[in-house]
């Protein structure tokens, strides 16, 4: 017998499957570029190549509250692009990039 919590969690998962599948189908570009679910081996690396096996996703975490309704309100964007921009500015300020690269980034 499933507990109420388990039932809730299953329902949330099912909803996400539907939404992700549907949006993924309708907006292929949204799912395409970066990380495929199965991490494509950056293969060999020059790095040593990819002894990469299938990407092991992090252990399941509880569903963030912001996703209780996938339709509305819209989830807030993750801070990643902004955090990256701030990091880029910090490194530029600290002079961590060589001159040519810094000029290119600032242009």
């Amino acid at each position: 017998m499933l507990t109420q919590d388990q039932v809730k969690r299953l329902l949330k998962l099912r909803l996400k499957v539907v939404v992700v599948s549907l949006l993924g189908f309708l907006v292929p570009s949204a799912c395409a570029p970066p990380p495929p679910t199965c991490y494509v081996p950056p293969a060999p690396t020059d790095t040593p190549a990819p002894l990469v096996t299938c990407y092991t996703a992090p252990a399941p975490t509880s569903t963030p509250d912001t996703f209780t309704s996938p339709i509305s309100p819209l989830p807030t964007p993750t801070p990643s692009p902004e955090a990256r921009r701030l990091l880029r500015e910090k490194l530029l300020t600290e002079g961590r990039f060589p001159g040519k690269v810094a000029r290119e980034l600032e242009s």
Partner: protein, 378 residues
Amino acid sequence: MARHNWLQTTLLRWQRELVAEGVRLSGGRPAHAGPYYILELTTLCNQDCRYCYNVWKLLPEVVTGEMDTRQWCDLIVKLQEEAGCRLVTFSGGEPLLRDDFCDILAFCHRRGLDSILITNGGLLNDETLDFCLGHGVNMFELTLLGADAQTHDALTRTRGCEASGSSWERALAAMTRLYKAEAAWCGVFVATSENIGQTRQTLEMMVALGATAVMFNRFNPGGEGARHLYLMPTVEQVREALAVVDEMAAAYDLFATASIPIMPCLLDTSPYRHIGFGFCAAGRDNAYYTIGPDGRVRPCNHTATILGDMRTQSWAEILSGPALDKFTSAVPEVCRPCPGLDACRAGCRAAAEVCFGSLEEPEPWLKANLDRLPADTT
């Protein structure tokens, strides 16, 4: 950037959560399933890295020549038809050193293949990048070995000149081009005893330049690297560096992987929840078969084991020979009683083979740390 809009970010996060729950998605663009195919287009390289795993640097007999454009194209057709290949990874040496690289890439594109390009970035100018982006390269893989030229160039043994810049500057310039072009790229950090202390600073540079993913690869001796075993980091160094990678992966929503095996008997990787740990895939569904410059096939790009010759044998014939079984079933004595053997596969068999001449030897990082194994296995 456009590709980081809320919709995409949200979908990717949900995908990850669902994968974590063991749910297989049927919608969206399908991820490429293995096996994978690495095409080592050339043995030539414009760098002389001390950590290089290219096996021919230690065992030149592993490569008997270099195929021309026509032979590569024939081989690619054969790979598609006989092995069902849909994605190729271009490697070398430095693949951009081939005059016909664009011809081979365009051929793959015409055949409907996606590709990944592994390059040190030194030759990735705007024109080549545009060509790659227009011809199916959907992931670039570039290495950055340190946060300053001195550290990076000491490992590549390639300082460059004033006009072209050092190998560090050239790698960063290529990463900047990728960032400006909004291309997907993976930053590789080869962690050695000399640069592992710069893990954070180096990854910061990759992240700032838009890396989609980062690969933290502990130095795995082989090829030229077998002559520089002192570059192996200690277990403590790797532990500290993994904590940094994990923290950064969480902070910047990065896909982080440790592709070179980190054996659980040496280091418990469970605290690093944002890093995907890879183990030897040889012979499995996610294997990355490697085709050398002469058309001969190996189980992976680190090994000297030859499975067969694509120019004269069928793919089925190559896989059914005894060499693959021998490679995948080799287990060092010390690992046999280990309950985690099936997952860990005793680390990198190829490194043991190349460095110590036997697949049954413990691999170099394990051998250097045998005194750390649990008492019941020693």
